[in-house]
Amino acid sequence: MAWLNPATRERLKRFRRMRRAWFSLWILMILFVLSLFSELIAHGTPWLLRYEGRFYFPRVQNVAQDLFFANGVRSEPDFHRLEDSELFADGTGNWMLWAPIRISPENTISPDRIQLKDELRVSRIRSQRVSDLRVNAANAIRAGRGSEWFLGEVPEFPSPIQEALATRFRNEPSESVEVKDASGRFTWSLSGYTPRASAPRSVRIFLREITSDNERPAPFVIVGESEDRPEWWATLPDPVRKRAEAALIEAQTVPVDAIPYTDGEGNALEIRIDKETVQFPFRPVKNHPFGLDQSGRDVLVLILYATRISLLFGFILVFCSMLLGTLLGGLQGYFGGRVDLISQRLIEIYSAIPFLYAMIYMGSVFGRSFGLLLFVYAVFNWIGISYYMRAEFLKLRRQPFTEAAHSLGLPTSRIMWKHILPNALVPLITFFPFSLVGAIGSLSALDYIGFGLPVGTPSWGDLLNQAQTYRYAWWLIVYPALTLFLVILLGVFIGEGLRTAFDPKRETHWEA
């Protein structure tokens, strides 16, 4: 650090003494460096492969299926399955060296490779009987399916129902009606009625069994091939139990329908047998601690790669816009007068172009890409910085040391470069973390609304967008949001520290 100006060294020393900012800087840097080496942490292709005494580097060279199966296929094999196969069994001397996480961000995890618990959930649910009747003006009845259980042979209408029927046949308006039957086992009901051109020829009456409220016992869990059965299993009628046993076996592979039956007391029941199936987005499971997204990609790996893209984007963007902003702001500030006046007006016009519009337009013309997004962003982002640099240069060009440099006959370029610029850097340095945080935030926002990076690029914003569709998928919102929060928090802490360290008027307060 000896090459640094002592004033700068003093400021850095002050910065280092602010522990929160200093630690944040370290954490962010470690995070950044780690994310730069994401491929070493997570990748779906083995780094090194030994097969029949020779080494192969599948990441670098094309290792064809032909090598293993002699089938003439030039494309790469599925290394995961290959490793599980006999060719790579213990003792063959063949092996693969993988990254700690064997998944690439673009890999779609096949559902059968997700290790679910081998469980069946069996439950018996009481079903509610329903039926209907159609009645015409002559009180002739056409009974719906299952109505015998309710009415027996001769239905007897309760008087409110009879009245309701009468008003409907008179084509008069009527509210909906619901009446409990004298037996107390079911209800009668009629829906509301508005008069029509002519009186109805028939009216529908609904019958509903009254069941005790929502009996939903916890399902019984049968693990694997276990012989455990729920207590009620033995009470099932033989044919039903046989069908249920068969369904248990069938359910191991495909979803099965519920089995309805009627018990000795005449209650309608059904037996449901469920096995959890993999549907994307899928919750965190073993080997995928952050869950899977809508297309079956591992969220942890996506976040890792998205961190790299976000931070890289942020760093490059802020660097470019600071370069542009300093150059243009500096020129304006230094030359002042007419140059300043005209370029300020041009910038005002220019900055009125809506960024989002430009982004969408350019994206549709050139196709969305990281480079284009960076370019469009940088082309707009420098304006803010240029205001600061303009003000700095405007101030510094009237400083005695600049005038002294002039009076010594130094050329303008040298005065700007050696005398003004080094003294104007403070706002750039203190601004850097905040700009970085801003850039990262806006990238996520753009991805979220779907105008950011190309579809399929790992991105926090894209995950958040998916979470909007699958609202139960909490893992799609919690993990990316936490990462975004962490990075922004670190950036703000660093920025705060730098600002305090570089503030010329720090800690002056009066005893008042």
Binding site: N5, Q399, P400, F401, E403, A404, L408, G409, L410, H419
Partner: protein, 550 residues
């Protein structure tokens, strides 16, 4: 009898005051074991060079030092039977402004730009005289504005500070300090930012105030001001008291070497000129009817509605090896003249030549070549060196650009540093490690390295302490002989000009109103403006002149 005892009780008693500043890695003792009294109606001068602790002493009385890191490590400050250092802040606030008030150096920043002058004065009354009616407050404000010599106070009280001139603003701050009739006023270099004629006005005002039995603690580095105003003097150096005594006695018979050195270093109007006027032959610079006007622009389209005629038709000749002094009040155009000659401002009329080459209309690259022959030294040595470059680079930069050197050559830098009385090994350090005097020497070394024919010194010694000022002036004289340099010496200080110059030009409103040898101009001034300037110059120990305190 009672009145006599009252008379003899000091207003302020400072006993063994010690103040230290704690910075991150070191501790600076700013004031050490200082004791003094201020009697009623007395003016006590606190004199010392920068860094001697005089300002910290003044600020300690009101506890206005930035805190932390100021620490009052010992001593007592007694005022009206209370130790101000131990007083709770609320009670101290009662005293601040009403019983003890302060006047600061910078009149430009002491007033809030967003409130009218009248409002700011009334605010003080709102705080300390809550029982007064609005009408009484306004009457008092107008009365005080009139007292400090603001014309049309009724109307002027509704104006904002920017509508006041620098001298008027300083007079407003004095009104603020005096309006509540405090028993003690602490004045910290109240006239340093003003030129001599304004300074004289302010002094007269302070003397009136003394007649009202208000005591004054006057902090200054200027021995001339002390001679004019103070009854007693306390000389400080490096946080300690050097000497104290009655002004007359101290000036006549200083007891300490430091005081003697301080008094000797003060340039005086009756100093002998540094050399007999030699015969100059070769003409270096000639100006004829030189004009530098700045347009005054107004309105949306920045129409030029008039001009500030900073330099307005000036004829002047500087010979090779000659030292020409330019004197005048601030705003008389003397700085602009210097800046025009070196091309920092563009001349708008007339002609000027260097060694017969016309300079008017020269632009860009040609000017850069001419700047090898003309150099400039600025007033503030702190801001005229780029703090991000090493001394070596600062000195060698321009010679490299002008093709005199191929690379930053340490031997080259060493030669010029030694030429101005600095050590060669300083070249590897940065400007902030040097004192004001050393920095000004670095500035001189930097321009000397180009071996110019003319050096324009724009108030080059006015920001320096007297002893340093004398050293730098000696350096200028020495270099003049060794390198046959011509100087254009711009200064508001007539005594400095008299010491060094062969020719003096008195400027007023961009025009030269009088010119001649310094002895002639100072002893027999012809123009009334020159006479007024001379009247205003404080001249310590000059028994022929009436002092204000008498």
């Amino acid at each position: 009898m009672k009145e006599r005892t009252e008379q003899n009780q000091p207003v302020l008693r400072v006993r063994n005051l010690s103040v230290a500043f704690q910075t991150e890695d070191r501790r600076v003792q700013a004031v050490e074991n200082l004791s003094f009294d201020v009697m009623p109606g007395e003016v006590l001068g606190l004199v010392g060079e920068s860094g001697s602790g005089k300002t910290v002493t003044g600020m300690s009385i009101l506890r206005l030092n930035p805190s932390p890191p100021a620490q009052y490590t010992g001593g007592e400050i007694w005022f009206e039977g209370q130790d101000l250092l131990k007083l709770p802040t609320e009670q101290l606030r009662e005293i601040r402004g009403s019983k003890i008030s302060a006047i600061f150096q910078e009149p430009m920043t002491a007033l809030s730009p967003l409130q009218t002058v009248g409002e700011q004065l009334r605010e003080l009354l709102n705080l300390h005289r809550p029982l007064m009616t609005e009408r009484e407050k306004t009457a008092l404000v107008v009365e005080w504005l009139a007292k400090v010599g603001i014309p049309e106070p009724e109307k002027r009280q509704h104006q904002y500070p920017f509508q006041y001139s620098g001298g008027m603003r300083q007079r407003v701050t004095i009104a603020m300090a005096l309006m509540l009739e405090p028993r003690l006023v602490i004045a910290d270099e109240p006239t340093t930012a003003l030129d001599v004629t304004l300074q004289a006005q302010v002094f007269d005002l302070m003397m009136e105030m003394k007649a009202d039995k208000t005591s004054l603690l006057f902090i200054t580095h200027d021995m001339g001001v002390v001679w004019e105003l103070c009854d007693r003097v306390l000389v400080m150096k490096e946080a300690r008291q050097v000497e104290t005594g009655e002004t007359n006695a101290l000036f006549a018979r200083p007891q300490q070497d430091y005081t003697r050195a301080l008094l000797q270093a003060v340039p005086r109007l009756d100093d002998a000129p540094s050399r007999e006027m030699p015969d100059f032959e070769e003409e270096l610079i000639r100006t004829e009817n030189l004009q530098t006007w700045f347009p005054i622009k107004k309105g949306m389209f920045a129409r030029t509605v008039g001009h500030v005629k900073a330099v307005d038709g000036l004829d002047m000749v500087i010979h090779a090896g000659e030292t020409v002094g330019i004197v005048g009040e601030s705003g008389s155009g003397k700085s602009t003249l210097g800046r025009t000659l070196i091309g920092l401002e563009r001349a708008t009329g007339g002609e000027f030549w260097i060694e017969g080459q016309p300079l008017r209309g020269v632009r860009g690259g040609r000017w850069r070549m001419i700047r090898r022959q003309i150099a400039m030294i600025f007033q503030d040595p702190y801001s005229s060196l780029n703090g991000r470059m090493k001394i070596l680079d600062l000195i060698t930069e321009a010679p490299i650009v002008h093709g005199l050197l191929a690379k930053p050559d340490p031997d080259f830098a060493a030669r010029w540093l030694e030429e101005v009385g600095l050590e060669a090994d300083m070249m590897h350090r940065y400007p902030h490690e040097f004192s004001g005097g050393q920095r000004q020497r670095i500035c001189i070394a930097r321009v000397l390295a180009l071996e110019p024919k003319l050096i324009i010194c724009d108030e080059a010694v006015s920001a320096l302490d007297v002893t340093i000022q004398a050293q730098i002036l000696d350096l200028f004289l020495e270099l003049r002989e060794r390198h046959q340099l011509a100087y254009l010496f711009i200064s508001h200080d007539l005594s400095v000009v008299k010491r060094i110059c062969d020719q003096v030009l008195v400027m007023q409103n961009g025009k030269a109103v009088e010119r001649g040898t310094p002895s002639r101009v100072i002893e027999q001034p012809e123009h009334p403006y020159t006479q007024k300037l001379l009247q205003a110059v404080p001249s310590p120990g000059d028994p022929t002149r009436q002092r204000r305190r008498d």
